[in-house]
Symmetry: C2
Subunit: 311 residues, 2 copies
């Protein structure tokens, strides 16, 4: 089923306790698209880069089944650039450089061939730009998933809330859920946020897993305890890409299938952090993905199934 | 199967964002015993209090099936007293008062009737006292579970390590696992700690659940996302009591049954935090416990069971 992804395609320069990179390909839509491409192709990308963005990176995306018709290339302008440095525990990071460049006045153009969009993934961007994409689609997609971050809560809360109102699934982390709702308890926070519009809420807790809320239901997906986390950049976007990719590929938005989508997204994210940037996402096999999903299932499996009768 | 519990029986004065208490009954062995008593009776207690400890509180323990023959009452001395204040998010706490009193020279006496001990729970105490209990049991128990805390890593590391060497299951939190092993990755930390002696390691992550390690196997039990956490005091001890209580009641120390024991312990701990002190642990019904365990099962359940085939 037709999947459209909007978000940043950018350069990142990363520094972790394990090393540093020069400018490498990054951006929310890059991670989302690559991750989703393991579930279905094409992934129809809407994004903007400058003329400094190498054709080889665009070809790389295309090789993974990403349709780049909606990728604008601005002559004489530079691509979005972000540089960050992670603390030793990888749980906090410092932004060293943010150069908006082409993102400053990004006007998302939806190619006609994207108007069949049934699944829409709004990667982290200014909420007014995310909203424009919804408005420019002639038919409302079957499912709209939105990712955002605390930055927009600080500088554009009203715009953010008007966009959140329009989506089906919101994906944020625990600190963001607390900031957006003013509630410390994630159960209370989820209730308040779902009252703003989204019927589903995903709260990402990084190394502590992810929660999926819908009405009074809660599903919890653990994160895989990993020996090494090399670089957490893009993990949340990779999760989102795996999540919507699975839903679009199966064209099933039941709560049960959303659970499987959360597990799949978590599995994809667990690969992402194993190497720098998008590296680990470029050469996965279906077999590796399936084996990783099995590890997630095993992690919480209690045998025999009935916990109650044996407890 | 005969279960012996050693640890503190004490007074606590607690302050949380939701209120404060006068001196109420507390102490690791109190929480452990009450929690284990829902799985089997009697729970044979080894502890010490002063003559300020009210007979009514001792009767309360006895009413719950706690055998107090091993509870020493020191005439003219005072019971251990701890007072603490929790931060608004309940994730950190400040110790206001610690009065060791009778704990300062606690010499644990094992009644003859306790020598049938098959399951031994060493609640948090000076590691040399925990070790004395093992040494004073004529036969080595089938399973020894030990709880401890960072305080002993700071002031008695050598003693602590000699005691850890002797036990089967060590239960500590994530920060303590990192401190004890010098490893940030919990997978690496677990490997190092198991190399110190324990065949099993439980890493408690509070609101983020608990991990059980054995050889190369990992099991993860989530914590239940709660609307309200009222008072976290005793949650770790309640978990430990539920864990060993389940194992002793079923007399099955397979890894599969340990998983069920972790779920049961997590369920018991989720009750504990709903009210001040031991209050919530005093009036639980089997039905409530079973329903709570079912909530834990539902939280991670993916239907249909095969994640892989549907992903």
């Amino acid at each position: 089923m037709s999947l459209v992804v909007i978000g940043s395609v950018a350069f990142d320069a990363l520094e972790t306790p394990f090393g540093k990179t020069d400018k490498i390909i990054g951006g929310a839509a890059t991670y989302i698209s690559l991750s989703a491409s393991y579930s279905l192709k094409p992934v129809k990308l809407v994004a903007v880069v400058g003329d400094d963005f190498p054709q080889s990176d665009i070809s790389l995306l295309e090789k993974h089944g990403v349709d780049t018709e909606g990728l604008q290339i601005k002559e004489g302008e530079k691509s979005f650039f972000w540089s960050g440095k992670y603390a030793n525990d990888l749980n906090s990071r410092e932004t060293l450089v943010t150069e908006l460049n082409v993102l400053a006045d990004f006007d998302p153009i939806i190619p006609d061939a994207y108007q069949d969009c049934k699944y829409l993934m709004l990667g982290n961007l200014a909420p007014q730009v995310q909203r424009l994409v919804i408005q420019r689609l002639v038919n409302r997609p079957k499912l709209i998933v939105m990712d955002t971050m605390n930055f927009w809560m600080d500088v554009a809360l009203e715009e953010l809330i008007s966009t959140i109102e329009m989506v089906d699934v919101l994906s944020i982390n625990d600190e963001e859920a607390r900031q957006l709702s003013g509630e410390y308890s994630l159960v209370k926070a989820a209730r308040k946020i779902m009252a703003m519009g989204p019927k589903y809420l995903i709260i990402k807790k990084g190394e502590h897993g992810a929660l999926l809320f819908h009405k009074n239901k809660i599903f919890f997906a653990p994160a895989l305890p990993l020996e090494e986390v090399f670089d957490p950049t893009g993990a949340g976007d990779t999760f989102a890409g795996g999540f919507i990719g699975h839903l679009a590929a199966t064209d099933d938005i039941s709560f049960d299938n959303m659970k499987r989508a959360v597990i799949h997204g978590s599995a994809m994210a667990s690969f992402c952090v194993e190497k720098f940037g998008t590296e680990r996402l470029l050469h996965l096999t279906d077999k590796e993905v399936e084996a990783r999903e099995q590890q997630f299932a095993d992690l919480v499996a209690v045998v025999p199934a009935s916990v109650v009768q044996n407890a």
